[in-house]
């Protein structure tokens, strides 16, 4: 019995399509080998993340929904995966802390979060005087930094251009580039009767045509195929015009695929944006 299992076999196991003999061997290893068990949990998390960002193939997606999401525990894990993705999409690029220790440190468990109210817990006052002085200095610096930040901060960028033909143009950069360059673009809710032209920036223009899918919380709202890339300044975009009434406040994602000459789809990237009031 081969005790070695690769990531792909573990994915197959979780999706319910691993061969019976390998499945039995893997199950035995899950019980007897802590490393295999943890690796399976890691793969499970990765599978959930791929489902959340719609990066599973159609068949995997179906297996995920039919075979994987069968217990309340896994449904709960998916819910958390969606929540985490929403948080990550709302964040700017993380800045490295000043010093990252080379050695792997023990993983901390986050401190229990406080109740929402009252907003402020008991502060450091009442402890030693030195702590109180330190807190005052930190607070002063924080206030100065905050004032500087407010004075220099630009207003929220709504990445929308309107023209006179009741069309809102929304340029979107791919998620793979956006995560290195900024937070999720915000789009104001379209006025009644407006269409929205999503301009999906692409670098590879060699596809015969393009297919797109608009998703909200993993639910497909609209699809289009036969889209074509066109030049836009020094770049190329795939324009996709949708009716504005499809959009309400919330987080959206466009999944773009290219169609190669053989007719096969090839995933290109995701484009996230947030509609705000």
């Amino acid at each position: 019995m081969n005790p070695n299992f690769d990531k792909q076999e573990m994915r197959s196991y979780l999706l319910g399509n691993l061969e019976a003999d390998r499945r039995a061997a893997l199950e035995e290893s899950i019980l007897s080998d802590p490393g295999v068990y943890e690796e399976l949990l890691v793969v499970e998390g990765e599978l959930i993340d791929q489902y959340v960002v719609n990066n599973l193939s159609p068949s995997e997606r179906q297996q995920f929904e039919t075979n994987f999401l069968i217990t309340a525990e896994r449904q709960k894990n998916l819910r958390f995966g969606r929540l985490l993705r929403r948080y990550l999409d709302s964040q700017p690029v993380p800045v490295p802390p000043e010093k990252i220790p080379v050695a792997v440190r023990q993983i901390e468990t986050p401190a229990p979060a406080k109740k929402f109210l009252p907003f402020f817990s008991a502060g450091p006052f009442g402890r030693s005087a030195s702590i109180a002085v330190s807190a005052a200095v930190v607070a002063s610096v924080a206030i100065i930094v905050f004032i500087c930040w407010v004075s220099t901060r630009k207003p929220v960028q709504h990445t929308v251009r309107e023209d006179s033909s009741h069309l809102m143009k929304v340029p979107l950069t791919p998620g793979s580039q956006r995560s290195e360059g900024g937070s999720t673009p915000r789009v104001q809710i379209p006025p009644k009767g407006f269409d929205v032209r999503l301009e999906l920036q692409v670098t590879n223009t060699s596809f015969r045509n393009y297919k797109s899918e608009l998703l909200r919380e993993n639910n497909s709202l609209k699809t289009a195929d036969e889209l074509k890339a066109e030049p836009s300044g020094e770049q190329h975009v795939v324009p996709w015009t949708i009716t504005g009434d499809v959009l309400s406040p919330g987080d959206y994602k466009v999944r773009l695929s290219g169609v190669v000459d053989s007719g096969q789809d090839e995933f290109i990237d995701n484009y996230s944006f947030r509609v705000v009031k």
């Binding site: 929540l83 490295p96 401190a111 979060a113 406080k114 929402f116």
Partner: protein, 184 residues
């Protein structure tokens, strides 16, 4: 097999003794075996995986005096054998249908999101950076970004995966506790 048998404290103590002479270690082993049985039953499409894991443990405990005499080796192997037997019984019965995915309540989602923000804020600076950098990447840059992060941390790519997962797991537990408190 007596289906109405319940796990008494005495029987449970005997089970722990069999798993490990150290009580604390035995407790950890018990939890690990149960969690892994749940994974196995879920992997076989059992909707009520937790009940079946408990049923497996109960069966083993019920026969413990005999097992101790006749079986030598890693106890987990015995659990695996019993689990397979229970699985066959399960397949012969009409399995229950999976519960539908509960609808999303937007207010609840907001509560959960605020809990997540609080829990992420409570992470150390390094772990927060690792979490955001590791899981924040999407699309084509993901592989490069994770490779770069592993280099920054001076650890192998797989060690980074495990480390990111452990932070995520701790975060999820923190959020679940926070949500419970918010509901109280």
């Amino acid at each position: 097999m007596n289906k109405n048998w319940f796990l008494s404290q005495e029987a449970f103590d005997a089970l722990l003794d069999w798993l490990d002479s150290d009580r604390e270690q035995a407790g950890i082993k018990y939890e690990e075996i149960r969690a892994r049985l749940i994974i196995i039953f879920t992997g076989r499409g059992c909707v009520d995986a937790e009940d079946l894991a408990d049923e497996t443990i109960n069966r083993v405990t019920q026969r413990l005096s005999t097992i101790k005499k006749e079986f030598t080796g890693d106890p987990t192997r015995y659990f695996f054998g019993v689990a397979n037997f229970i699985l066959m019984e399960y397949m012969r019965r009409k399995p229950p249908q999976p519960s539908p995915f509960p609808p999303t309540d937007s207010n609840q989602v907001e509560v959960e999101f605020r809990c997540l923000e609080q829990c992420i804020d409570s992470l150390s600076e390094e772990n927060r950076y690792l979490l955001l950098k590791y899981y924040g990447a999407e699309g084509g840059s993901k592989i490069d970004q994770r490779k770069q992060l592993a280099e920054e941390l001076g650890i192998a790519a797989n060690a980074l995966r495990i480390r990111a997962y452990r932070i995520r797991l701790g975060l999820q537990q923190c959020v679940e506790k926070c949500i419970k408190r918010a509901e109280e």
